[in-house]
């Protein structure tokens, strides 16, 4: 802890004096080169292999969705009482993943946690793609896809509006806002780097595409001033979304009257869980990118360790929430509530519950050890386990449906091939999008990273570079 505190105080000081956030003392030019070259160089074979796998999985998703539309929701294992299944689990899971991106790019930006610069682009892209994956599910899980537009408040001849009391409608607005703001925020952040790529472009197509996308950025003082203001405002708009979106997702459950769903702890617990799972996903991806593209200086141990500490904190919060749910269930004296939680731990889905507990509560506790939280292999495995655990958390919550008030109506939900297919397919889509991002856009915010280099300090002794050199 002492170490952590020391780091914090140092971070708040002038850039010239604080600890190096980017190791290896790269020059501005080196940063630009190392990030841009990934986009500019020939597509590596490994990329094609990975893209081949993930796009096949995407194809599976498309087939699963086409079959779903053709045949009906019955191809999934749903029933009454468990009328929601993997589609909703995946929705909550992917929305949760997205949250880390927003947290890193917006909240940490406002809090001036400048170590975020190395991962923020990356994390924001992840947000966008996770939200895209998530948004598939509320659309396809309805029984009559062809009238899904009824959920939008479109004036119509019948004079019928959506039901503003329904949490599902709140979802429509929450997801819509979240996706729009995240996309804008990400895109605005990309503009200076797109301009860099435009400048470096070697063929005409790239020049035109990057040129159009960079919106005429030339790096003038006024532009930077407007840019920074816009970025700050968008960060301010995005920040409450980190809390609100997953709170609203949690209300899909919390607003119902089902034992095990109807709890007030859900909003904060969902937000903590979302950040927890999001950081785990960023970690998985960062370690992979770091290893593949040799960005060890940018995704350095200091950044990774901080992320592990956030996982330790949010993981403990989630663990606390699990414990508190049990306590409140007992303390409430409500027999249905008590049963629901005992049933979670010892009922037919106990296996899922204990996977969740082991992965979400026990695994992050190992990060108390400095040795483990700075061990790449360990943190890689832990991040994957945490993602599995967080997926199961949502699964455990959804299948709480299987046993509610009247024992006569109890049932059991077994996912079918098509349930699993959309899960695999959504990962396929996510990784496909991510790989395309890695290939065509700068995965690290070059302009921001340069801002935390020692050279960025006007008083930096060795600063001989001019700005025009830096953007090259």
């Amino acid at each position: 802890m002492a170490d952590l505190a020391q780091t914090e105080t140092k971070t708040l000081k002038e850039p010239a004096h604080h600890e190096r956030l980017i190791t290896g003392e790269p020059s501005f030019e080196h940063v630009t080169d190392s990030v841009s070259s990934i986009v500019e160089s020939k597509t590596p074979k490994a990329w094609w292999v990975l893209f081949g796998i993930s796009s096949s999985a995407t194809l599976l998703l498309l087939v699963a969705i086409a079959y779903l539309f053709w045949e009906g929701i019955g191809i999934w294992g749903l029933n009454v009482p468990v009328a929601w299944g993997l589609a909703i689990v995946n929705l909550v899971f992917w929305i949760g993943i997205g949250h880390a991106g927003t947290l890193i790019s917006a909240v940490l930006f406002l809090l001036r946690q400048r170590w975020r610069t190395s991962i923020n682009r990356f994390a924001e892209a992840m947000t966008i793609f996770a939200v895209i994956c998530a948004l598939i599910f509320p659309a396809i899980h309805v029984g009559r896809i062809w009238v899904v537009y009824y959920v939008f408040p479109i004036p119509n001849q019948m004079g019928v509006w959506p039901n503003f009391r329904s949490p599902l409608l709140w979802d429509v607005f929450a997801f819509g806002t979240y996706f729009t703001v995240s996309l804008l925020f990400w895109y605005v952040g990309l503009i200076p780097d797109l301009a860099t790529l435009r400048e470096r472009a070697t063929n005409r197509i790239k020049k035109i595409v990057y040129g159009v996308l960079s919106l005429g950025w030339y790096g003038g003082n006024k532009q930077w001033k407007h840019y920074e203001m816009a970025y700050l405002i968008l960060a301010a708009i995005a920040t409450p979304l980190v809390l609100s979106v997953h709170s609203i997702v949690s209300m899909d459950f919390a607003v119902s009257l089902l034992p095990g769903w109807h709890t007030t702890i859900f909003p904060p617990y969902f937000v903590a869980g979302a950040i927890f799972s999001g950081f785990a996903m960023v970690m998985t991806l960062a370690i992979l990118a770091r290893a593949t593209f040799g960005l060890k200086d940018i995704f350095n141990m200091r950044v990774l360790e901080r992320m592990n500490l956030i996982m330790l904190v949010t993981g403990s919060m989630v663990g606390y929430a699990y414990a508190m749910e049990f306590f409140i269930a007992w303390y409430s004296g409500n027999e249905y509530e008590m049963f629901a939680f005992v049933n979670r731990a010892f009922g037919p889905y106990a296996w899922a519950y204990w996977i969740m507990i082991s992965c979400n509560v026990i695994v992050p506790q190992f990060f108390w050890s400095k040795k483990l939280r700075t061990n790449i292999a360990f943190m890689f495995i832990a991040s994957i386990l945490i993602n599995i655990g967080m997926w199961f958390e949502r699964f455990v919550i959804v299948v709480t449906l299987s046993r509610d008030y009247l024992p006569s109506a109890w049932g059991y939900y077994t996912p079918t091939f098509w349930d699993i297919a959309i899960l695999i397919g959504s990962f396929g889509l996510f990784f496909s999008l991510f790989l395309l991002f890695l290939r065509f856009l700068p995965m690290v915010a070059m302009s921001e990273v340069k801002g935390v280099l020692p050279q960025a300090d006007p008083h930096y002794a060795g600063n001989k570079q001019t700005y025009s050199q830096a953007v090259r």
Partner: protein
């Protein structure tokens, strides 16, 4: 489709308003332009919108007529005359349904000549307006595309005329030799016309043999009464007058004959309005767990073979109380293995003349004789049980079947007619009926399907459904009823009367003429035509029941009988006991083609689409089997493999199996469902047998059960008390759950004016007969989904019958609870729907807007009662044209992806409101009955306007037994329950 359709497919007519319009004169067009200036433009065009709509309307009306299959003869509608058909307004016709050796009086709702819904006939003593699952399901059987469609000779399609000509030849031949070599194997019937024709058959062919056989029959009962009284009597029970009832292995509330009336009477005697009321007490000893057992105050699981011994013990105990039971003196025993015999005896003795002992049809004649003797000794005959001699009836005769098969094997039968029976499937396997049949030169099969027998015979003649036939019936008490056709035969089939007429008289006569002839003979003198019209209208002839008698037991006869047929279990065979039960849904297998009944959950086990080997937990343990494991049942060298189902409360060392499954001629619905237990049946023991060997097979068979969980988990769901507890705590039901007063932050809808609908479900009356479930299915176009979907928890029933066990797994008590949409005032489903597809209407109904539903299923998740049903697939897409005719036109047929649920039969509410409005009055109590309520024989369901303090439902809601299920959730359900009361004998200590 009939020939007439061709003529009907003419182009829709052009309707015109005046001759000028027809002439299309300029004057007329000018006139139109003046009168309808806005619409004037339309008339310039010869194909205007208006004209198009006119033509469309007319051609649609004509297309609609093509599906009308009104019977050709004049029949009299129940309420309105057929000339007054108003499209969209159903007509009701009285008819009666032949069943076993009795019948049910019914009223059938017909939409534009299409029977869609069956109700009981309020005038007919067999139903008094109520019905059963089986009667309700008949519309689906009628519109079954798998029914036999044509006369067949071998594989060849023939016409009815071919058969008639063929038979006339044979007729003359047999008439010469007086019927030598001619044999008929008939199903049971109870019909004046068929009896009349059978008599002429007997006259024409004195040497022919006529045998009646069905797999489920009251043969033992008739033999038992013969042994007791010297005459073959049918008992008629008055459960409403019986304070103490003992059932000896009798499921009189569901699967025995006359169950609708039994349930009604039983319910009446059990009904309590206040804690001061008295109620009856039911004791039962049985092997399997029956619906009647679930309603008992004291139940003892003993093997079926021990029932006789139990009855003897009872006779002994009564004897000790000074009540001598005739014919038993030599055999009286006192066996310690039976519980509460003495207490029961005292209870029965204390209710002399108001008690009743009934025995089940699978018990041997001796038990029935003894039951009659006990009733006689208790002075019940003439009070709670009356006897009548049946006539116009042909009842099952198993000895006759045995000798018929012997004749067939010896080659002395040259022509065998199977009249409405399917012996290849349901004759006990030991007979080898199919093999014997192959030795008969000409075999003629007359039935509604090309079933197991029909596939093997020389000729097959399709039998019309009773809803398309002229016929007549005598019900259980002998009331004469008419069967009138609601529709012309869908396929090229002939009615029972017509076939019998041909067989007996050698000429083809119309069914209508045959039936009229019979009734004319019976109604000599007076104006027959007006009586006939009245009989057609009512569906029955009043006061035509059999004469009720109160005979005395003949001591000498019964003594000898009981000596010759000892009651104690004396087979001496080792091994388990196997008990053959008729299926509460499929009966003896004749309804195996009916999807509603196949998918109807068994009232106790909640299984669908299968029959199983029920066994006790202890037996399953010792065999090392669990649910779904397949076992091999071996009896007398024959074997059958069935999956195991552990039935709590079943007698140890016994296996219960149900008839009606394992069909091979039941087509797409019934083929391959379950196993045919007739393969194990012996004539020596049709009801039950010992010597069964059970061995575990190494495979499983997945069963589809609609309720996996047995226990109520200690929750106050079904609230129940003994009569004694009820008297001490009259408000026990409401007090079972304590919670703070529930308040709303909003002003709630006041319902100050108009109607506010509500319902009560009396758990004390409900016997668990499932009639409401099929009534709802039929009324509301609920699809069947098949076994796999049921196993996956996707059954569609809007109303369901929950079953919970309590107590010891070897001797549990069972309760039933009807669950349907509770129409909560604070409905949790409504708030969560994102598109407002489920909402509250001004009369308190929670309504479903199918067109608006996008299928998020959130409402189902948030329903604490889980009454919502989702169309996971397009279940109704593949209905054939014939099946579509089953659908009620007043109810939307739902599409894939929408949620549905009980609507309180909103179409009936609307119809009643429109009717009341047209008559310038308000809807009054009793105008509206929901489908479930109408079917219920015990009036467990009451629906009405709760704004009206005088309505029955309001009054029932004021009963102190009234409680709202899950009221602590503040959902304010409109359906409330009246708690169940049991009336145990306080002298019997619970184990």
């Amino acid at each position: 489709m009939s020939k007439k359709n061709g003529d009907m497919k003419i182009k829709g007519k052009d309707y015109w308003r005046s001759l000028d319009q027809l002439a299309d004169t300029p004057e007329f067009n000018n006139f139109l332009k003046r009168e309808f200036p806005l619409g004037a433009a339309q008339f310039d065009n010869s194909w205007s919108r208006r004209k198009f709509l006119t033509l469309m309307g007319a051609s649609l009306a004509m297309a609609g007529l093509a599906s009308c299959r009104r019977p050709e003869e004049k029949i009299v509608p129940y309420v309105e005359r057929p000339e007054e058909v108003i499209p969209g307004v159903p007509l009701y016709y009285a008819t009666s349904m032949p069943f076993s050796d009795h019948a049910f009086g019914l009223v059938v709702e017909s939409h534009e000549g299409r029977p869609t819904k069956i109700e009981g006939n309020k005038l007919h003593s067999s139903t008094l307006g109520a019905s059963s699952a089986i009667t309700q399901a008949q519309t689906l059987s009628l519109f079954d595309p798998d029914r036999s469609k044509k006369v067949l000779k071998g594989e060849q399609e023939k016409s009815w005329n071919d058969f008639v000509l063929n038979w006339i030849g044979a007729f003359e031949e047999f008439k010469q030799n007086k019927g030598v070599g001619l044999a008929v194997l008939s199903g049971m019937f109870s019909s004046p016309t068929l009896s009349r024709l059978k008599k002429s058959f007997d006259k024409n062919f004195p040497n022919a043999s006529w045998v009646t056989y069905e797999a489920v029959s009251d043969e033992n009962i008739y033999n038992g009464t013969k042994a007791a009284f010297g005459k073959r009597y049918r008992p008629n029970y008055s459960f409403d007058k019986a304070r103490v009832v003992l059932s000896l292995d009798s499921d009189f509330l569901l699967t025995e004959s006359d169950s609708i009336n039994n349930a009604r009477g039983f319910g009446k005697a059990r009904n309590v309005e206040t804690e001061k009321d008295e109620m009856n007490r039911l004791y039962i000893v049985e092997s399997g767990y029956s619906t009647t057992g679930a309603n008992a105050d004291h139940r003892q699981a003993i093997s079926s073979g021990d029932i006789g011994a139990f009855a003897l013990n009872l006779a002994n105990a009564l004897n000790n109380l000074g009540i001598n039971v005739a014919g038993t003196s030599a055999q009286l025993v006192s066996d310690k293995k039976f519980k509460w015999v003495n207490e029961l005896a005292r209870d029965l003795a204390g209710a002399k003349g108001a008690s009743l002992v009934v025995a089940g049809r699978r018990q041997p004649a001796a038990v029935h004789a003894l039951a009659a003797a006990i009733n006689d000794a208790l002075g019940n005959i003439g009070k709670t049980v009356l006897y009548s001699e049946v006539s116009d009836t042909s009842s099952s005769d198993s000895a006759g079947l045995q000798s018929l098969v012997a004749d067939m094997n010896s080659g002395s039968v040259s022509t065998l007619i199977m009249f409405g029976s399917n012996p290849v499937y349901d004759a006990p396997a030991e007979l080898g009926f199919a093999a014997a049949m192959s030795k008969v030169k000409t075999t003629i099969h007359f039935n509604d399907y090309v079933d197991e027998t029909g596939q093997l015979t020389t000729w097959h003649v399709p039998k019309s459904h009773f809803l398309e036939s002229w016929g007549d019936t005598r019900s259980y008490d002998g009331t004469m009823g008419l069967t009138q056709p609601l529709i012309r035969p869908l396929f090229k089939s002939v009615s029972e009367s017509e076939m019998m007429g041909l067989l007996a008289e050698g000429k083809a006569t119309k069914g209508y003429d045959l039936v009229r002839q019979t009734w004319k003979n019976k109604n000599k003198g007076g104006n027959f035509e007006s009586r006939w019209r009245k009989i057609l209208h009512d569906g029955l002839e009043q006061k035509s029941a059999y004469k009720s008698e109160s005979p005395g037991v003949k001591n000498s006869v019964i003594s000898k009988f009981l000596r010759d047929n000892p009651l104690t279990n004396s087979s001496g065979k080792s091994g388990m006991e196997i008990i053959f039960r008729s299926s509460p849904s499929l009966y003896d297998g004749r309804y195996a083609t009916n999807g509603w009944l196949q998918e109807l959950a068994h009232p106790i086990s909640k299984l669908t689409w299968d029959n199983v080997a029920y066994m006790s937990n202890a037996d399953a343990k010792s065999l090392g089997v669990k649910n779904n494991d397949v076992v091999k049942l071996e009896l007398d060298g024959r074997s059958l493999e069935l999956p195991v189902w552990i039935q709590p409360g079943q007698a140890k060392n016994s296996v219960v199996v149900e008839l009606g499954y394992g069909r091979k001629g039941a087509f797409k619905v019934g083929d391959g469902v379950g196993g045919n237990v007739n393969l194990l049946r012996n004539f020596s023991a049709v009801g039950f047998a010992t010597g069964l060997k059970v061995s575990k097979m190494n495979r499983t068979h997945a069963l589809a059960c609609t309720q996996d969980h047995w226990s109520m988990e200690g929750r106050a769901i079904v609230r129940e008390a003994s009569l004694q507890e009820y008297r001490q705590h009259p408000k026990f039901a409401e007090e079972a759950v304590q919670h703070k007063p529930l308040e709303s932050v909003f002003d709630e809808h006041s319902y100050a004016e108009g109607y506010q609908w509500g319902m009560t479900v009396d758990l004390n009356s409900c016997v668990g007969c499932n009639a409401c479930m099929i009534a709802c299915q039929s009324e509301n176009n609920i699809p069947i989904v098949g076994k796999e979907q049921v196993a996956n928890g996707r059954e569609m029933n809007w109303i369901r019958l929950d079953r919970y066990y309590s107590g010891d797994v070897e001797d549990p008590e069972t309760v039933h609870q009807i669950i349907l949409c509770q129409h909560c005032e604070n409905a949790p489903c409504e708030t969560v729907c994102p598109v407002n597809a489920t909402m509250h209407d001004a009369e308190g109904l929670n309504v479903m807007v199918y067109n608006r539903c996008i299928g998020t299923r959130y409402c189902s998740n948030n329903c604490p009662y889980k009454v919502r049903r989702f169309n996971f697939f397009n279940y109704t897409k593949d209905y054939s044209e014939v099946e579509k005719m089953t659908q009620n036109p007043d109810v939307t047929v739902r599409f894939r992806g929408v949620m549905e649920k009980c609507t309180y039969c909103i179409q009936r509410i609307s119809a009643a409101k429109i009717d009341a409005k047209n008559n310038g009055r308000k809807v009054v109590d009793g105008d509206i009955t929901t489908a479930c309520q109408q079917a219920c024989p015990v009036d467990a369901l009451t629906f009405g306007n709760i704004n009206d303090a005088e309505s029955r439902v309001s009054k029932k809601k004021k009963f102190n037994r009234n409680y709202a299920l899950l009221s602590e959730l503040n959902v304010k359900p409109r359906t409330t329950y009246l708690a169940k009361i049991r009336n145990p004998n306080s002298n019997i200590k619970k184990a």
